[in-house]
Symmetry: C2
Subunit: 159 residues, 2 copies
């Protein structure tokens, strides 16, 4: 079964769906406030992508393109994607939704960096990601996993 990944628009329905996800935080509240205050329009673009099961949003992630000048992970330095808030609702886990989202991110053709949750190492390894060498001043407690397209390697820094 293929899961169709769609870019999510910011509207009241999407924001209501977001409340079911554990990682509901400042980002979601901020979008809701901006919508309520008419600071953004209904159906504005968001950095979120999701998968629906029928009418229900069951998986989501956020993707943001980082400019090459801020790239401290990849060699040669280049634009890359930062992936965060990857989450599948509990009753829909183990059905390929997370994989579909990550495959979608990989299909964009850019390197990817994510901050893996504790014990998520098996998932990211299965998805072809590698553990980035930990650097305290860059990673500050994160657990960075990176995905290299062909021809891209890890950026190495002197201590």
């Amino acid at each position: 079964m293929t899961h169709k990944v769609v870019k999510l628009k910011i509207n009241y329905k999407t924001l209501e769906e977001f409340k079911r996800f554990k990682q509901y935080g400042r980002q979601e509240l901020s979008m809701l406030e901006d919508l309520e205050a008419n600071m953004i329009e209904n159906d504005s673009d968001s950095p979120f992508y999701g998968v629906y099961f029928g009418d229900r949003l069951v998986a989501r992630m956020s993707l943001y393109q980082i400019d090459a000048k801020f790239d401290r992970y990849f060699n040669p330095p280049q634009d890359y994607l930062e992936l965060w808030k990857l989450e599948v609702l509990p009753e829909y886990q183990q059905k390929g939704y997370g994989r579909a989202l990550v495959e979608f991110a990989k299909s964009q053709g850019l390197p990817i960096k994510t901050n893996g949750r504790i014990n998520s190492s098996d998932f990211w390894t299965t998805m072809g990601f590698a553990t980035a060498t930990y650097e305290v001043e860059r990673d500050r407690g994160e657990n960075p996993f990176v995905w290299f397209p062909d021809g891209v390697t890890e950026q190495v820094h002197d201590e």
Copy 2:
């Protein structure tokens, strides 16, 4: 009761204590590997601070000083502290250990930024922190809380 906050040195005892904390991840593994490979010396400095109850490490946090040129949170832009991995072992919670660590951070005289866990808002507000205005390109899914010493305000960015 006052809790004494101490800077933690990287050694096998500390790294063994760290295994009891939920947020044990790449950072801790990296320190252990560096120690085992003799890439760092026993009792090297770490960015961690902790509180002991008797011989047992019961609370910890990481503090890292960010250079003013990277400051996107405070006005005027200045060196500030990033606080992460604040954690108190379950059986020692609600006894002021977390507060002692945060008060220690505040006593350094620099502004502080942290990424609060979901539902940690009450704790940070009680500690005098404010919610930073969420900016997707800066915060990327974090829940930033900030503490302003006298004379410091939030840095405002145009959309």
